[in-house]
């Protein structure tokens, strides 16, 4: 199960990259990157998953004493939370840029924004 999830995560990253490399539309590129972001989150969570264990939340069934044997690794989850938030921040920023770029040139084609080169 972990392998399936992890493989999917990797595939999502690759799909995202492929989308970003082949779509010239700015918005589609951002969409592609957000897919890659989801993929990376999936990979991270899979790495932290231990088969047959439960979420790292203590309650009556998972007591503090037994926690070490019952829960999965909480660290990757904490990392993914951070990664998700950062991801959406970057996405928002790219979207704002896109809006502005569109306003400037009336196009979303990235190949049209090449006045800086060489």
């Amino acid at each position: 199960m972990v392998y399936i999830a992890m493989a999917t995560g990797f595939l999502l990253i690759l799909i995202g990259f492929y989308g970003a490399l082949t779509n010239r539309n700015l918005l589609r590129m951002i969409v592609a990157f957000s897919i890659a972001d989801t993929g990376i989150n999936l990979v991270i969570i899979s790495v932290g998953y231990l088969p047959g264990r439960t979420a790292p939340i203590l309650d009556t069934t998972v007591t503090a004493a037994a926690a070490a044997a019952r829960i999965i690794d909480p660290v990757p989850q904490a990392l993914v939370l951070t990664a998700i938030v950062i991801g959406v921040g970057v996405t928002a920023l790219m979207l704002a840029y896109t809006l502005k770029l569109y306003e400037k040139k009336r196009t979303l084609d990235i190949a049209k924004f090449t006045e800086l080169k060489w």
Partner: protein, 1041 residues
């Protein structure tokens, strides 16, 4: 000291607090921003103080009260303190610089700036890999935001391109981090380093991904198009941060990763770094936009430091010294240059000529490019020295060669740029100076010099900024406001005084050179009294050259020698550049000279075998197989200065186009530096063989060919000063030949040439310069008949050419005499024959100086000319006297040297008895010769006068030789193309083969660079391709190796 956490807290607190302020309170917000930055600087500076002065140990800072790896920890050590100070300072100064922009954009922009600085500090301080990622993202996002401070609309697309790549980078980084975490069970960097057996193998994909992601932020070639676009379009104050601070922070992050990965990964860092260094410098060559050029240079320098990070295994405890020296030199200089670029209205390189109206800013610019090129006395120089010796000591020669090649390219475009500033037409728009924009530039200059002092102190060598001659030269910078004649007097007095105080310290050989430099220099300076006004820039440059020359002959160890060599090179470059049309020539001079200097550096580094420095005398201890290579490198380096054939193309222009009093300095005195180097080299290393070839034999041939071809090129020259310049190539050829004979008389002859050449070449250049000043041209065919108007110049020239051509009675003959004796005592025949040919050829071109300039018909437009100015004539007359004295009593100078040479070549010395000097093959009595010649000449002259008393005067246009149809005005002059028949016979030998070779080489480099920079087609998607391709290619190369 306050905890380093407060750096982060202050920035964040201020950034968050800004939101409370109403939009109208922008001034308050700006004040708050500055206050926070000042506080952050205070903390960093305090820590630097604590570590440097008190020698405290690094401090671990825990957050949230738990030890690592369970909570994030930070570390504050000397490196961190210094780097955060760099980051905070550049942030503060840029904030100052950005005053108008920040006030216009409001508090959000200030918050972004604060967070950018904070994030960079965080990258430096944190010891947690994921925390590093968070700060990375913060820095990246803040970068994307700060790009918008620019008024350039294109900044928007640059920011977007950056974010595309940043996204891809962060994906790889995260994967790397999570799998590294899985492998080690910790996110703490030190913990990972301890636990990672797998990561340290050099085969771990997890580590590779982390590392390549961090490296990608360092803008490696070719995945760096986005960075160039940012540099070109962003506000210069942001580019200053982006180049100086971001570069430093990300480099430190790479260093932390290398700490995890260990030595197995070092070659990867070095490989990427060096490729980037060379490639970025190469691609910069055809660049004309100033900010983009600086961007290329930034990328290159970052690459260099990355390469150094990968060499930490051999750098040992010098690692921080070297990496820090390069990094700080680059950061300060680059920040300074970007700040400067904000003062310039135009974006093309020649637009920087606007700086000419502000000498202070020129000084700033010079400081910055000297720092970037690693010239003394800046940190980069010391770092370069250490790096070279350690690389050579470990046998990493290829890397050293690449570094030096890249550095030469960089120096090339930087000095070309400086040439534009000094020589190109000033644009209409002046430099826009406001105090808050000027202050950062000046701060960078001060920091540069201060670090130069600090690095000198830490270097373990003599601190160059404490060397008296250099200090004396630099003090002229402070005296620039004085009129030239006062500075001239000071210069003369200082040099003479230094000689008086130190002359007892020199051995006879060095005494000759020191007299030429410290007494001969002031004599030429007499001519400088002729210049009026303040002559801004002349004295610091000239005195820098003299300081370098003085330090060169005083140097006992390799380090001092090399430092002096670079100083005299730079000083003379500034001097040469002052000539009216000398921009291209000064450039080729500095490129050849630095190329030569790098050869010397490499030679010394090889010879040192890892030692920090060595006595020059111990060059003699080197053995095969190292010795011949050291010999070749050093000899080549020295011969770039003596303009040996093949390396000579810079000389005619540089010497010919220089100012009247500069030509004798760079010809009469500066060329001797190369000879001095060769003397030291041959004296210590003697004969060396490589693959059975006797290297001194090769030198012999080079000397002979230089003599022949230099003289040949001189005879076809129409320009009087260039003619003299070509003649120098020939003369230096003689001297090299003499040295390469490796016998007593050969050396004596070379030293004779050293003295003679100084006197007569200085004299001839002065008189040619004086004539050119009066006539307004240097073309000889435009002159004629000046003998009556400028008799003193004529006398100087006459005496000069008699001396040069080596006919009795003057000292040139003495040189020849020793020379023939030397040849007789040696067994090399063929070069000897060549040299014999060179003699009469010299006479041909010298004859023209008299014949075309002073004899013949006077031009109409010259009828009212006066003698050359007094101050230009005065030194010539002194030289005339000197020549006569030296002709009659050569023993004054040579006798002691002759004895001194006995310890190297006991055989074949001369016998000095009274006025007679005798060798195994004959004798020479200068006094008798002088008397004989005077008598013969006097009686012949009297007879001539007597015979011609009835001579008939002819009209000027009564010309009888009119064989060819004139098709250009100058062709009607009989003296134009005077030696056309010879040209028909010998012209094939003076085809500019060498010039064609070198210009072909530079054209090739340019074309290659121009072609390959099309790689950066400006499309953000292509840049993403570049990044992915970079990762893939590096991975396959890495795992393939």
């Amino acid at each position: 000291m306050v905890s380093a956490l407060y750096i982060l807290i202050a920035a964040l607190g201020a950034a968050f607090f800004l939101g409370f302020l109403k939009d109208g309170m922008r001034a308050t917000a700006y004040a708050l921003t500055l206050a926070a930055l000042v506080f952050m600087n205070f903390i960093s500076a305090g820590w630097v103080w604590v570590f440097v002065v008190d020698g405290a140990a690094p401090v671990e800072i825990l957050t949230s009260g738990f030890p690592p790896p369970f909570a994030i920890n930070l570390r504050m050590g000397l490196t961190e303190a210094a780097l955060t100070l760099l980051v905070n300072l550049s942030g503060l100064l840029s904030a100052l610089y950005l005053k108008d922009v920040l006030l216009a954009l409001g508090r959000r922009s200030m918050a972004v700036l604060l967070i950018a600085v904070m994030a960079l500090c965080g990258i430096i301080l944190t010891r947690d890999i994921f925390n590093l990622f968070v700060f990375f993202e913060l820095a990246a996002i803040a970068t994307a935001g700060l790009i918008l401070l620019s008024e350039d609309k294109r900044a928007l697309s640059a920011g977007f391109k950056y974010m595309i790549v940043a996204q891809a980078i962060s994906v790889l980084l995260l994967i790397g981090i999570i799998f590294s975490y899985h492998a080690t069970g910790t996110l703490n960097i030190d913990g990972m380093a301890e636990a990672s057996t797998e990561l340290k193998t050099g085969a771990s994909i997890a580590f590779f991904l982390m590392f390549i992601a961090v490296v990608a932020e360092l803008k490696p070639f070719p995945a760096n198009g986005w960075a160039l676009d940012i540099y070109e379009s962003a506000h210069p104050a942001f580019s200053a941060i982006f180049s100086a601070a971001s570069g430093a922070a990300f480099l430190f992050a790479a260093d932390k990763l290398l700490h995890i990965g260990g030595a197995a990964w070092f070659p990867l860092a070095t490989g990427i770094g060096i490729v980037t260094f060379v490639a970025a410098n190469l691609l910069a060559l055809p660049q004309t936009n100033d900010r983009r050029l600086l961007g290329y240079s930034s990328i290159a320098q970052t690459g260099l430091v990355l390469a150094v990070l990968g060499q930490q295994d051999i750098l040992g405890d010098r690692y921080l010294f070297v990496a820090g020296g390069l990094l700080f030199a680059h950061s300060i200089a680059k920040a300074g240059l970007y700040w400067l670029s904000g003062l310039i209205a135009g974006r093309e390189l020649p637009d920087w000529a606007a700086l000419r109206s502000r000498p202070l800013l020129i000084f700033a610019f010079v400081t910055f490019i000297a720092m970037l090129s690693g010239l003394p006395p800046f940190p980069g120089f010391y770092a370069k020295w250490e790096l070279a010796r350690l690389l050579a000591g470990e046998g990493r020669i290829a890397l050293l060669a690449l570094i030096l090649f890249g550095a030469l390219l960089e120096a090339g475009y930087l000095f070309r740029w400086f040439g534009y500033i000094i020589k190109r037409e000033q644009p209409a728009q002046r430099v826009a100076c406001t105090p808050h924009k000027l202050a950062p530039v000046i701060a960078a200059v001060v920091a540069g010099w201060a670090l130069g002092y600090l690095w000198g102190d830490l270097s373990g060598h003599a601190n160059l900024l404490l060397a008296v001659p250099l200090l004396f030269a630099l003090s002229f910078l402070l005296l620039e406001w004085l009129p030239a004649w006062i500075k001239n007097t000071l210069a003369i007095a200082g040099m003479v005084a230094f000689f008086v105080l130190t002359y007892a310290e020199y051995d006879p050989l060095r005494l000759i050179f020191s007299v030429i430099i410290l007494i001969g220099g002031p004599i030429i300076f007499l001519a400088s009294y002729h210049e009026h006004g303040r002559r801004i820039g002349f004295y610091p440059a000239a005195m820098l050259m003299y300081a370098g020359l003085t330090l060169l002959i005083r140097a006992n160890d390799s380090f001092g020698f090399f430092a002096a060599w670079e100083m005299l090179t730079v000083g003379s470059y500034f001097l040469i550049l002052r000539g009216k049309h000398s921009e291209p020539h000064a450039l080729s001079y500095i490129i050849f000279s630095l190329g030569g200097a790098f050869m010397i550096l490499a030679g010394f580094a090889l010879a040192a075998q890892g030692a920090p420095q060595f006595d020059l005398a111990s060059l003699s201890l080197l053995t095969q197989p190292l010795a011949p290579w050291v010999f070749i490198l050093l000899a080549l380096g020295f011969m770039t200065k003596t303009a040996a054939i093949g390396l000579h193309i810079w000389l005619p222009g540089a010497h010919g186009e220089a100012e009247t009093d500069v030509s004798p300095m760079v010809s009469g005195i500066l060329l001797k530096a190369g000879l001095f180097g060769l003397i030291v080299l041959l004296m210590t290393m003697g004969k060396q063989q490589l693959y059975g070839i006797e290297l001194t034999h090769v030198l012999l041939w080079i000397g002979a060919l230089s003599a022949l071809l230099g003289n040949l090129m001189a005879i076809f020259e129409e320009d009087a000063k260039r003619l003299l310049a070509y003649s120098s190539i020939g003369q230096m050829g003689y001297a090299v030949f003499g040295l390469a004979l490796m016998n007593h008389l050969g050396w004596l002859m070379a030293l004779m040439f050293v003295i003679n050449h100084y006197i007569y070449k200085s004299m001839l250049f002065l008189s040619a310069g004086g004539v050119a000043k009066r006539t307004g041209t240097r073309d000889m065919y435009r002159m004629g008949g000046l003998i009556t108007l400028m008799p003193l110049s004529f006398i100087a020239t006459l005496i000069g050419i008699i001396a040069v051509s080596g006919v009795p009675p003057l000292s040139g003959f003495g040189g020849r005499w020793i020379f023939y004796n030397a040849i007789l005592s040696s067994d090399v025949r063929l070069p000897m024959v060549i040299l014999f040919f060179a003699g009469p050829i010299a006479f041909l071109y010298l004859f023209r100086l008299i014949h075309t300039i002073f004899l013949g018909q006077l031009k109409d437009e010259h009828r009212k000319l006066k003698e050359a100015p007094f101050w230009i004539i005065l030194p010539q007359m002194i030289f005339v006297v000197l020549l006569l004295v030296f002709a009659v009593a050569p023993g004054l100078a040579l006798r002691r040297v002759d004895t001194y040479l006995n310890q190297f070549f006991p055989e074949g010395g001369l016998n000095w008895a009274g006025t007679t000097i005798s060798s195994n093959y004959g004798y020479w009595n200068p006094v008798a010769i002088m008397i004989t010649v005077c008598v013969i000449f006097g009686s012949l002259f009297a007879w001539l006068l007597f015979v011609n008393r009835k001579a008939q005067k002819v009209k000027q246009f009564n010309i009888v030789f009119a064989g060819e149809r004139p098709y250009r005005p100058e062709t009607t002059h009989f003296a134009w193309n005077f030696f056309a028949p010879y040209r028909k016979a010998l012209g094939f030998m003076v085809q500019p083969f060498v010039t064609r070779f070198w210009s072909g080489l530079t054209d090739l480099l340019h074309a290659a660079a121009d072609l390959s920079r099309r790689l950066y087609n400006g499309n953000g998607q292509t840049y993403a391709f570049h990044f992915i391709a970079f990762v893939v290619v590096v991975y396959f190369l890495w795992t393939g190796v």
